[in-house]
């Protein structure tokens, strides 16, 4: 099977950019990724064999608009939507086409321009909107409450997680929120859905990220990219069912399903990881993701948080050095690819003052509506 090199990465910062169209954000990121791979758009003609565009709200033919602006049409261009895992899904399709020998190089771009506030989603039926059963933060709050109860965590642990991510986000020029916060600030921010305060929730926003994949066994390469959807039974799954089983202990969550697939494909385990970017839609989601990815045992999150904030670096991989979605905001289609951009920067040793020394193996994780989970492993 062919190796898949991550030949180039590019990013448009995540934030709010007024009337700038999503296409422009995507063109910025895609051109940067092509340049990083060593090609002008003109030089990429004839080399890029296909393009996949991850977006949830971009609308019809979003990818075509980006590729058109880069004068790269004529090739297959496919938009990919899989909720928060859209970027992971696009990456998986692109990688598969290279492994199969179909293309020499493929461009993957993720773009989003999200509305402000609680996301209006066609996922919910009109009656669910009328009944107020469509408040995403409320589902997150129930999940956080369960996590606190079953893992012995407290609201102070949720606040400490936010402090950690904002500390790194302050060092990321591509993040939306670039100031450090204290636990007191976090706990004093507006209550959205108990126990979640405003600063414990990521902000839907705008941005773009792009990756050029190339058939090669050199450099930073894609060791695995796995996608999974949910199994029925867990009432708190991101698929937001109206009911689930009381005995849901035997139902493996999609994050763990995808992680296990990715660990097997890449022939690595959690203990081999140097740097991890994982889903932190809310503070509780990140702490649960650590557990679901096999990075810690139930209830060990507090130990890791304390080691990280009071005594220097915690054991295990560095998690969300980019500042996570809590610092960057979440442009759905771009978020998973943004994680991969961060990992590649880390593995190349070019992550500035948030660099993890000697990073060789990285993992990116998203989980969201569908439910869709993606887990990507990169190595050098």
């Amino acid at each position: 099977m062919n190796g898949v090199e991550i030949a180039g990465v590019g990013l448009h910062p995540f934030g709010r950019f007024g009337d700038t169209p999503g296409t422009a954000l995507g063109v910025h990121a895609a051109a940067a990724a092509l340049a990083d791979a060593g090609w002008t758009p003109a030089e990429a003609r004839g080399r890029i064999g296909a393009a996949y565009c991850a977006t949830a709200y971009g609308g019809v033919a979003s990818g075509h608009r980006v590729l058109g602006a880069l004068a790269l049409t004529g090739i297959p261009i496919v938009d990919v939507e899989a909720g928060c895992a859209s970027g992971g899904a696009a990456l998986a399709l692109a990688a598969a086409s290279i492994r199969a020998g179909q293309h020499e190089a493929v461009l993957v771009v993720g773009i989003e321009k999200m509305p402000k506030g609680i996301i209006r989603s066609s996922f919910f039926a009109p009656w669910q909107e009328e009944a107020g059963l469509n408040a995403n933060p409320a589902y997150f709050a129930l999940r956080a409450q369960r996590l606190m109860r079953e893992h012995g965590l407290t609201v102070d642990d949720l606040a400490a997680l936010v402090v950690k991510n904002r500390r790194w986000g302050a060092r990321n020029p591509d993040a939306m929120f670039r100031s450090e916060v204290t636990a007191e600030d976090v706990l004093a921010s507006r209550m959205v859905c108990d126990p979640l305060r405003l600063w414990m929730l990521c902000s839907p926003n705008e941005g773009a990220a792009a990756v050029v994949l190339r058939r090669s066994d050199k450099g930073v390469h894609l060791a695995a990219v796995a996608l999974r959807s949910h199994l029925p039974g867990s009432v708190l799954d991101e698929s937001t069912p109206l009911a689930g089983l009381a005995d849901d202990g035997g139902i493996t969550p999609p994050t763990t399903l995808a992680a296990n697939d990715a660990y097997e494909e890449a022939a690595v385990g959690p203990e081999d990881l140097d740097v991890v970017e994982c889903q932190d839609t809310d503070a509780g989601r990140e702490l649960l993701s650590w557990y679901e990815l096999g990075l810690c045992a139930a209830g060990d999150q507090r130990k890791l948080l304390r080691a990280g904030t009071e005594e220097g670096e915690p054991p295990g991989p560095a998690i969300n050095r980019s500042g996570g979605l809590l610092s960057k905001g979440e442009p759905l289609g771009a978020s998973a690819l943004g994680q991969v951009v961060e990992l590649v920067r880390q593995l190349r040793g070019r992550a500035g003052d948030r660099q993890v020394p000697g990073a060789r193996v990285g993992l990116a994780h998203t989980i969201g509506r569908g439910a869709n989970a993606s887990v990507t492993v990169v190595r050098r």
Binding site: I119, W127, A131, N134, L142, A243, D247
Partner: protein
């Protein structure tokens, strides 16, 4: 195969005691209940789903309050939102809670099914603390 609408009005009923209750699905193949009733059992894919009246009582498993209106919602805020584990069948159901103050609720608290009428006139299920049903019945 189960028949039923895709809106909450089709899932509301009264149990043998005349109390508000929900209709769910039960598959002999999987031996499991689900809600709302589906054409195929979500656990086995079997097409032998029977529509059954679910228990109208349970215990509170998770709860919060929504403090600002999500898109398309025109009812009061804050409003209670949570999950109740229905008695005896191992099913957890999501719904509105009549109690909008999270500090007034506790894990395992006894709850009953009730209904609420939304501003547009639509009727949906909700869960209320059991004490409120007793209060409704108490002579004036």
């Amino acid at each position: 195969m189960a028949e039923g609408g895709s809106e909450p009005g089709a899932w509301l009923t009264r149990d043998a005691g005349g109390e508000a209750a929900l209709l769910g699905g039960w598959s002999p193949t999987s031996g499991r209940h689900h809600f709302p009733p589906a054409q195929l059992c979500p656990y086995s894919g079997a097409d032998d789903v029977e529509v059954v009246t679910l228990p109208s009582t349970g215990s509170l498993w998770a709860w919060t309050a929504v403090t600002s209106a999500p898109p398309g919602y025109e009812g009061p805020v804050p409003y209670g939102f949570g999950i109740v584990e229905l008695d005896g069948i191992g099913l957890r159901v999501v719904g509105r809670l009549t109690e909008p103050d999270p500090s007034a609720l506790r894990h395992g608290q006894r709850m009953v099914v009730t209904t609420e009428t939304l501003p547009g006139g639509r009727v949906v299920w909700a869960f209320a603390p059991e004490a409120s049903r007793a209060a409704l019945r108490a002579p004036a």
